[in-house]
């Protein structure tokens, strides 16, 4: 409030302005006083009391009650004193109306008072001017400024009113009471233009320079405000704060300071702000808190079950987004529509909640396709529909210029669609291909290309003939059929003749069907592309060896000899034990050709190169592969002298390494030698290299000699080092299947150590073993846990049996609860699969050994499939127990009871003899 009005109030003894709350209290007081007035109004002595009451009401800020009582008093007294008090009450009431922003009402009251009390005109001048200023009627306020005789004091008073009361710059600029060239009008017009500009868009310095407004002008605070607004929008927050701090607090522009400070991040209490201020802050400041809570509400509603809640929340969020972040509205509607569509919400109601359908563009179809892929992973029709929608995405992406028809991105899209189709069972996909579309259209001809992986691959590879794309196509085709795989490999070779991969594929396929000339022809092409490729280099020797063995099998020793001669000319055939292999192969070929002299010469050469026993074992293995065992024979291992028997493990390991080098299929070793190796191994293990030990371990697994494999794994683990992972895996493979927990622990430890040692081959094999449907759930170990397992295993050399199941890894299976009756009882559970009725049988068995039935039950429970009914399982357990009592080995027993699951799994073609 201006000083002028304050001084006026002091003269008139008008009480200071009160808060709304104070007025409320005063009104209550007035009711009590009014009641008193009614009783004692006619009493002259009471007039003094009433006057005192009126003054008290004025002091209390209750101008309305004071005015009513003053009117009554003046009506009854009609004295100059009562008139003066009445005018005082009018003055207070007018001021109160102005304080309540009721300028028009104040003006009306001023007019009324001036009519009734002409002498009071001068008294009401100031409040009248304020009322005029507030209501936009500035003529009365400004007119005196035209008077050249206007005192400086009066001018200053008027300027203060302008500064503190005039909020309408345009009205000031257009006020006819001043001439158009008047500096105040000029300044107001310039400020009004600048204010509009600064609040509507970016402004330059020139626009807000405002030379028309001097710093002495009553409108100077506006200049500071406009600059502050410009800085606010430019992000020049500190400068904005500086301008705001310079604005006079009593001036009109200062009314915007709290709002602007809130936008700048000042901690402002929401309830201290008026409604227009809150709106301004929200709209200008980009305050998204309302939208944030609306969006959170939508997320919560979607996670609930009530569709109505979803629609309600969606509607509110869309409205709020429209208001506060319209730039995000399109995407929001798309996302909600996709979510609603993939969760089966009513489409019409959803569209209504969204205030209309979302925009159907590439982004929308991308989201919808992806949602179907994610949520439809177990619903093949959703996956097929996802591919149809990917095609819609493709068309929109082309139209929107996201990518072009012949781009790598387009090829990637086709490959992505094949990935999706590959999740659909082949038979069902075939049915889909033969059937119609998915409800939206009935495609014709090639339109339904998106359901055919071969068409998608072809499109991808034509657009972007990238090796990775061909590789994916070849992998898929090979899964369909060998012929399709070869066809794709040929297409790959045709389009990218410099790639070696399709040639190697064609070579391997030819080799598999013993078409060695074709295989060698493809190899020659591959050699021309990259002769130093390791696969290519190894392939020629291997192919020639396989071809020679094949010729031997076909009783064509001459052709076999040609291949051997060719092999001998290769420089790589002179490395390691390869000359020995050539000599052995030549021996057999000469024998087949009945070339006695050549046979003996070659045999001597082989023996000289490899040693007597290894040469004999190698001859045996090659002869077995060539199905001409009549040409090679070895004596029974038991017939060898003790010294000779001790060399068997090393000899087998050496021969195995050669067979592995040449990848000889159907290579076999005599069984008596493997049995003997199992016996001899503990005595000779320390003298063997790690390579020999691991080769023997593989022989043990391949020929169903788990104890040999077990012994080699123990020896290997004792030596520690980088082969630990291999030997842990070997141990897991050697372990009887019913030691499920230990197998899982070993395979998991092998995987972890192999990862650390970057041995991808062992990682793959271990992961594959953990994926075995009978292998239980996989779990992960820390590196330290894996090392601890390796240490424990190295210290547990004995092959596990029913009485010695080895280290206990149960603490690693915290998620796996023991199902034995004792443990179940300890957990307060009912004995499930087995009841405890048979516990009376626990004790001494016929063989005199005390058998722990709980342990037996534990092992049995872990091995028995869960789907077996409890009564059937109990019966099986009894059979196992009885068989055990009759002296059968527990391993075989479990194997017999549980069939393939309980016994050692054998793979076709892996048996050595």
């Amino acid at each position: 409030m201006g000083t002028n009005i304050q001084s006026f109030m002091a003269i008139m003894k008008v009480p200071p302005r009160r808060s709304i709350a104070s007025i409320g209290v005063a009104q209550n007081n007035f009711k009590a006083n009014a009641s008193t007035l009614a009783v004692s109004g006619s009493n002259a002595g009471n007039a003094v009391a009433l006057e005192t009451s009126i003054r008290q009401l004025l002091v209390n800020g209750n101008s309305k009650a004071a005015l009513e009582n003053a009117k009554q008093l003046h009506k009854s007294e009609h004295t100059s004193a009562s008139e003066s008090l009445l005018l005082e009450a009018y003055r207070a009431r007018i001021q109160s109306l102005l304080d309540q922003n009721l300028a028009l009402e104040a003006k009306s009251l001023i007019r009324l008072v001036a009519e009734r009390f002409p002498n009071a005109q001068a008294l009401l001048n100031d409040v009248g001017q304020v009322a005029s200023a507030r209501s936009g009627d500035l003529a009365a306020l400004l007119k005196p400024l035209n008077d050249p005789e206007l005192s400086a004091e009066r001018r200053a008073d008027l300027e203060r009113i302008i500064q503190t009361q005039v909020s309408d710059l345009r009205a000031l600029a257009e006020c006819a009471a001043l001439p158009p060239e008047h500096s105040l009008r000029q300044a107001a017009a310039a400020l009004d233009r600048a204010f509009d500009a600064a609040t509507s868009g970016p402004v330059n310095e020139e626009q807000i320079a405002l030379p028309e407004v001097s710093h002495r002008s009553p409108l100077a605070p506006w200049k500071l405000l406009i600059r502050a607004i410009a800085c606010l929008h430019r992000g020049e927050d500190q400068q904005c704060r500086d301008y705001l701090a310079s604005i006079k607090p009593e001036s009109v522009p200062a009314r915007l300071v709290p709002s602007m400070q809130a936008i700048l991040g000042a901690d402002t209490k929401a309830d201290s702000l008026k409604s227009p201020e809150r709106v301004l802050i929200s709209r200008v400041g980009g305050n998204l808190s309302d939208l944030r809570s609306a969006l959170e509400q939508v997320d919560r509603a979607f996670s609930g079950e009530d569709d109505n809640q979803i629609f309600k929340a969606v509607h509110a969020a869309v409205r709020e987004c429209q208001r506060s972040a319209p730039d995000r509205l399109g995407t929001l509607k798309q996302i909600i529509h996709v979510r609603g569509g993939s969760t089966g919400l009513d489409a019409k109601r959803l569209a209504t909640s969204l205030d209309g359908e979302p925009r159907r563009d590439a982004a929308y179809f991308r989201m919808f396709s992806r949602a179907l892929e994610i949520f439809g992973d177990d619903e093949p029709y959703d996956l097929a529909e996802a591919c149809e929608l990917w095609d819609e995405f493709r068309q929109h992406a082309l139209r929107e210029g996201i990518f072009t028809a012949q781009s790598a991105e387009m090829a990637q899209l086709y490959l992505h669609m094949t990935d999706t189709l590959r999740q659909i069972p082949a038979k069902l996909l075939k049915e889909m291909q033969q059937g119609g579309g998915f409800g939206r259209k009935q495609p014709q001809g090639d339109e339904r290309y998106y359901l055919y992986p071969e068409k998608l691959f072809a499109r991808a590879c034509v657009i972007d003939p990238h090796p990775e794309a061909f590789s994916q196509w070849l992998s898929w085709a090979n899964d369909q059929s060998v012929a399709m795989g070869e066809s794709v490999a040929k297409e790959w070779h045709r389009i990218r003749p410099a790639d070696i991969e399709p040639l190697l594929h064609l070579m391997k396929q030819s080799e598999k069907r013993n078409a060695f000339p074709s295989a060698l022809a493809y190899l020659e092409k591959a050699e021309r592309i990259d002769a130093i490729d390791s696969t290519v280099r190894a392939a020629r020797l291997r192919l020639l060896a396989a071809a020679a063995i094949r010729h031997l099998q076909q009783k064509k020793p001459r052709l076999a000899m040609e291949k051997i001669t060719e092999m001998a000319e290769l420089p790589q055939s002179q490395q390691a034990d390869r000359p020995g292999f050539l000599a052995a192969l030549r021996t057999l070929t000469c024998a087949a050709a009945k070339d006695q002299e050549g046979m003996e010469r070659s045999m001597h050469e082989a023996e000289a190169l490899l040693g007597g026993l290894p040469a004999a074992l190698l001859l045996f293995g090659i002869a077995a592969a060539a199905k001409c065992l009549d040409l090679a024979s070895v004596p029974d291992a038991k017939a060898l002298k003790p010294e000779g028997r001790k060399t068997i493990p090393a000899s087998l390991a050496r021969v195995m390494a050669i067979a592995k080098d040449f990848k000889i299929g159907k290579f076999s070793l005599p069984g008596s030698y493997i049995d003997e190796a199992e016996k001899q191994f503990p005595q000779v293990a320390d003298a063997l290299t790690l390579e020999q030990i691991s080769a023997l371990g593989e022989i043990g697994i391949a020929t169903d000699h788990p104890k040999l494999a077990w012994a080699t794994s123990t020896a290997g683990l004792k030596r520690a080092g980088p082969t630990e992972a291999f030997f842990l895996l070997l141990r897991a493979r050697a372990l009887p299947q019913y030691f499920n927990d230990r197998r899982r622990a070993l395979a998991s430890a092998a995987a972890e150590l192999a990862r650390f040692q970057r041995d991808t081959e062992v990682v793959d094999q271990a992961v594959e073993m953990l994926r075995d449907p009978f292998g239980g759930d996989s779990f992960s170990l820390t590196l330290e846990q894996a090392r601890e397992i390796a240490r424990k295993e190295a210290a547990s050399p004995s092959f596990p049996g029913i009485f010695d199941s080895g280290p206990d890894y149960s603490e690693l299976f915290s998620d796996t609860l023991c199902e034995c009756a004792d443990c179940r009882r300890a957990r307060g559970e009912e004995p499930s699969m087995f009841n405890d009725e048979d516990r009376s049988e626990e004790g001494i068995f016929e063989d005199g050994l005390e058998m722990n039935e709980t342990e037996m039950r534990r092992i049995f429970n872990r091995s028995v499939p869960k789907e077996i009914p409890p009564d059937m399982a109990e019966m099986l357990f009894k059979v196992m127990k009885e068989a055990f009592q009759s002296g059968e080995a527990p391993e075989k027993l479990l194997s017999q009871i549980l069939g393939g699951r309980g016994g050692t799994k054998q793979k076709k073609g892996r048996r050595g003899k």
Binding site: D99, N101, S167, D168, F195, T199, S200, G201, P202, L232, H233, G235, V252, P253, R255, L256, K274, P276, E277, V279, L280, R283, V284, G285, G286, N287, L288, L291, R292, L295, E296, D299, A317, A325, D327, R328, T331, Q334, I335, I336, R339, R366, M367, R370, A371, I374, E400, G401, I402, F403, S407, A408, E409, A411, Q412, L413, H416, D464, H466, E468
Partner: protein
């Protein structure tokens, strides 16, 4: 933040736009001064520079499944030019 957001480019940005954005970000966060930010920028560029990887990243994106507030999380609190009327409403109050 996905790679597009790190570099501040649209999902349909061209290779040239991606490169320009990358160079600009590297200038803003040089490796010797902001090694962590630079690492993120480099990773984002690697993911987007190859059109195949870029396309695959776009195709498998699950950003739309994130909580909806993520729509405005990355939105800068940009101030809005709301026009003079809202400002005048506040000026009228006392």
């Amino acid at each position: 933040m996905n790679a597009y957001e790190v570099l501040g480019v649209a999902e349909n940005a061209s290779e040239q736009e991606i490169r320009t954005a990358y160079l600009s970000k590297v200038k803003e966060f040089p490796p010797e001064q902001s090694p962590q930010e630079f690492e993120g920028i480099r990773d984002a560029y690697e993911a987007l520079r190859d059109p195949r990887k870029r396309a695959e990243a776009m195709l498998i994106s699950t950003a739309f499944m994130a909580p909806l507030v993520s729509l405005i999380d990355s939105r800068p609190a940009n101030r809005v030019f709301a026009g003079p009327q809202l400002w005048r409403e506040v000026l009228k109050t006392k």
